[in-house]
Amino acid sequence: MALPALAADELHVFVFGPGTGELVAVRAPPNDWLIVDGCGVGRTKYGPALLAHYGASPRLIALTHPHRDHAVGVADIVDMFTQGPVRTWPQIGLLWPTPRDRVNLHDLQAYFAGGVVEDALSAIRNRWRRHPPSRWDLEVGSSTQLGEASITVASPERNTRRDAWKAWQRGGSYDPNQIATVLDVSWHGHHIILGSDLVEQPGRGWTVAQPRCEAAVATKVPHHGSTNALHASWIRGAPHLAVTPFASSNLPRFDKTGGIARMLATVDTVHLTALPRAYTAQVGTPQRLTRRELERLGDAEIDPPVHGWPDCYVMLSIAADGSARLDHGPGSVQITESGGRVRPRRRVVRPRGGRS
């Protein structure tokens, strides 16, 4: 299955998540790209593959927080698009300084993850040093243009960053998801919230971020739909909700108290890029399933399995009038609360407030 064609006059948001990991890409008219985080399967890095498919170069790249499931392929994208003259380099966003997980060889899975993160951070910091204008500080409240759209940093607040950094320096405990960067993409008064992994608990991240986020046409659901990340601010307005799974934590959860049930209390459908299981056990064709079916499904196999890139994505296309259309890749699942056919629809969410 090929990736969908892009419309010159629409804003497109891709959300990829192949079981573990997350990549969000925004193409704003006329043809400007933002790449947020990264994921991959084996040696296939989804970010570089996506841009290669559309023959695109990113204007903006951001790593929202230093976790492996968001850092895969970020160094490659940074490296790929900083080969030429510095005037062609993208702006690269990262909170700095940033705490990182401390790893050692006794836990090889964590060691591998730590190396991938270190690679991404090194690539970004190196480009900042070599060409300071490429630095995008992700200062909360700041905005930057992406073609006709603008990108506003909605989280984390400075004091939260400072506290996390101090805790890390002291060797104390902290949750890196408290300082995950949330971006608000605004185009023609329509907003898309890219929730990264920001959690409400601990730290009340969404309560703090709420005033900075407009009611959205769509939200990339934070932290794989965990209950810790749930907050009315990103559900309000009944937007399109796209979720990426995190297999090792079995997120999102499909039980009646889990994140998906809570979301389905507000929206008709939640769009999941893939099931919270290993990539090799993903589904070869887009599925429509109820939450209860998924709850019962467990590890049961569904044939045929995915056959490789491009897969495990949801693509949202928004027209200037706010109408939205969704495309679903192999591996993805549209989840409803009750049975019955999901009606494809175009819904207009009226913009509120004045930011554009």
Partner: protein, 666 residues
Amino acid sequence: MTAPLALTGLEQAAGAVREHLDRGQRRVTLYGRASSGKTSAMRLIAGQLEAGGWGVHRTQMTGDDDGALVALAMLGADLGDDVRGCLFDLNVPWKRKLQSVVGGLGRTGGRTAVLVDDPWFGSPEEAPSLFAERATDLLDEIERTPSLSLVLSRSDRPLAGTVVELPTAAEPHAVLAAERWQRSSLAHVARQLAEAGDARLARLSPVELRLAVALASVKGMNAAGALQRLRTGPHAFVRTVLDSLGNARFRTAIVRLGVMRTPFDEATLDELLGETTASERGLVLDALLFKTDDGFVVPELLARVAKERLYTLRFAELKEAHFVAARFHERGFAEQARPASVSRAADLRAVKRHEMEIIHHLTEAGDAAAVFSRSVDFVEQYDKLGKTLSIRGVRTSKRALLQRAVDAYDRALVHDTDDPYAHHYRAYNLDVLADDPAPVEEGYRRALILRPDHVWHHGRFVAFLVTCGRPREAHDAWEEALRALDGLRGHAWLFRELHRPVARLLLHRGRLEFAREVLDDVPERLGDTWFAPARVLLAQLEEAEADQLVFPASVPPDSRWEGPHLLIAKGERARVVRWMPGRIERANGEISVRFAEHAAKFGRRKFNAAGFRRVCPTARPTMPPAGTFLEIIELEGEDHEVIRCHPMSTALNDLPALFPHPDRYL
């Protein structure tokens, strides 16, 4: 105690060398083990050659990084003003100095022999350093000059060429003769040893015989007991003797003598020995050192062992020993440098030798300011200072020392802008300091342009690019390294210096495809001890990348599914209904276990702490940490599965260390 002229066969060996030269041999090696009298033999050879009408030039390498510089300076000091003007001009590069000196030697007319004591080539086990290359350059240049013949004295046996072997033993009765020990408190021990008539005595060199006297005296042994200790070979014997020398204070004093590379005076001896008793001092004078016309000499055999142990000294103590040595040479320099003296070539040699020794000792003392304040003759002396400071800075994690090393290389580059060593190591020290990658890259690149054939230049540049998150350029640089160094693939050090650090860094960064490419390029027989654990880590990380890491490295891949591996009792094995390998992937309140039912089916299980402890008795009282490998086993007759944990694997213990640390620029 006078020099050991009790060696038999020296005259004969000297004659054999002379005959080879007379017959037209251009290179002859005099081989004899440490302290077998090579220097004495070289003196005899020089005398015989001069008597036969040969022009003779003698020099010596020091066995340290400045070996070739000292040797060249001593040769050049004999020559005319034009040669000396070039040789002692800091701004003249090594090659021109070398050509000038060797050209000067070649122009002296008639048959000319150059005698080099203890030529030093570095270790064949290691990539050639700048300093070893300088030594090779010197000997090559001499050999290339048709009018020159070369005589080398070595204590490591050359594998080819014309070799004259020195006799290995002394005349024991001459060494132990009463008249040699008549003023010594050890006379009775020497007599006992001589009277023992042990056949082994005839196999020993004079130095070994004297050390046997020393050992017998401090341990109160009889001759047989002392000789028994010689079974392990001369070097081990010297270590035994050193270890037997009374107390730590005295042993350390002997080690301090290892800083001296030339004969020295009594005042220096006293300063180096520090507080010693009369009997200890007597032992040193009578049994450990030689007294020659030029002063006290530490025999080669003892000097080597003492030098090995210099690094056991506290740095302040080592530094002070080198300052003592520097002060000795300062006095010698002041004495020799009087205008009336330096008119003679021999005195100029002495002046230059003192000057170079002062620089050497100030360098080893780490006193960069003192070196900078003096005039030096060779850019390589700044390179050596940089190396010394850098090694010490890395060992002690002192940034100030690394910065001073950079200063030393800056000095070198002022006088030779094309010094690849200085460019490379300036960059390397800046790389360790990690303040700014720009000059690091510039230095590495410049060194590669100047010397694309050097393994360290490639290895560190590739590693730098990987460290900075520049994998594409790193891969290009890697391919270029393989092309440039293709002719060195027979050496294990190529893989150790190039593949090992690059692979280790790539594994750390999770760049597994590139890491595999690097490791696949290593021939297994040349992989050394680092290779196997690096491959194990690659295999483990590849499974981690695929989220399929369930077996520890201690379970061989071929027998993975022949488990369970953690059952001990045979009876248990017979009751196994099912088993699954797994790993604790998270243990923060909830315990998450990744497991495999078979090679293609993986799953996860979650336990709370109590539930996990119920099935895993070893989790009481301490919960195993994330990363622990385990087996989930279902046994017949049991109402629940059991979990058993693997012990921590040692398969990765020999992994090479990561240095400089890859996150240094973050």
